[in-house]
């Protein structure tokens, strides 16, 4: 499932995928795949993304019940 919340948080901070990738030391492709819901990041990577975007794990990675 696509991670729209992460994409919106990134856009709020006015960061491109590449800029966010550089800041947390991953590739742009990894960020793209996480946002597309095609890659499950490790907890460490999730925490790094949250810290960079100023959000909590719940804000970005909690899946709402349908």
């Amino acid at each position: 499932m696509k991670n729209i919340k992460m994409k919106m948080a990134r856009v709020e901070k006015d960061l491109t995928q590449e800029e966010l990738a550089d800041r947390i030391n991953v590739t742009r492709q990894t960020i793209s795949l996480i946002e597309a819901g095609k890659y499950n990041p490790s907890l460490n990577l999730c925490v790094s993304i949250c810290k960079e975007l100023g959000k909590t794990l719940d804000d970005l990675f909690w899946e709402e019940e349908k």
């Binding site: 030391n25 991953v26 590739t27 492709q29 990894t30 990041p41 490790s42 460490n44």
Partner: protein, 169 residues
């Protein structure tokens, strides 16, 4: 200066994909070695000197995998996972013993049939087969079953100790 890896960025997804490729390379090497042994057997006959390198490769790689997985505490974890996800309700050590039995049976059958074909003549083939099969069975099956059981028992025990030590650290 040129080989400084201090600033090397490690992306977990890329690392995982690389590891996946290395796993596939390992499988390809093992398969090629096995195919080479079989091909050389048909070409040269049962001559050990032609397949020494392939045998050393297969044995060394297997031993390395076993020792490394025990040393990392991974062996007992793999046993636990396999026991949880097994389709047939038999613990893994019993399955390994059954495989060792079948392996020993296969080797005994191979030697029995081979001896019967090469040395058996004038109606003696059945006798040769039974003699060599029985002798091989008595030698190989206990050796393989005991060996498999011992290796599994020691590996599992050592691996659990390593895991306990890691948790304790």
């Amino acid at each position: 200066m040129f080989f400084n890896k201090k600033n090397e960025i490690k992306d977990e997804r890329v690392e995982n994909l690389y590891n996946k490729i290395y796993r596939e390379v390992y499988a390809v090497v093992i398969i090629l070695a096995a195919v080479s042994i079989i091909a050389k057997y048909f070409y040269y006959g049962l001559n050990l000197e032609h397949v020494v390198f392939e045998l050393i490769l297969l044995i060394a790689v297997s031993i390395y995998f076993l020792v490394r997985s025990v040393w990392m505490g991974l062996y007992s974890d793999m046993v636990e996972l396999k026991d949880k996800s097994r389709k047939i309700s038999l613990p893994i050590n019993v399955k390994q013993i059954i495989i060792a039995l079948i392996g020993g049976l296969g080797i005994s059958l191979f030697f029995g049939i081979r001896s019967a074909l090469i040395y058996g003549g004038g109606g003696n083939r059945l006798n040769y087969f039974l003699l060599v099969f029985s002798a091989s069975f008595l030698i190989y099956v206990p050796f393989m079953v005991l060996g498999t059981f011992l290796v599994h028992y020691v590996s599992n025990k050592k691996s659990k100790e390593v895991n306990e030590k890691n948790i304790g650290d």
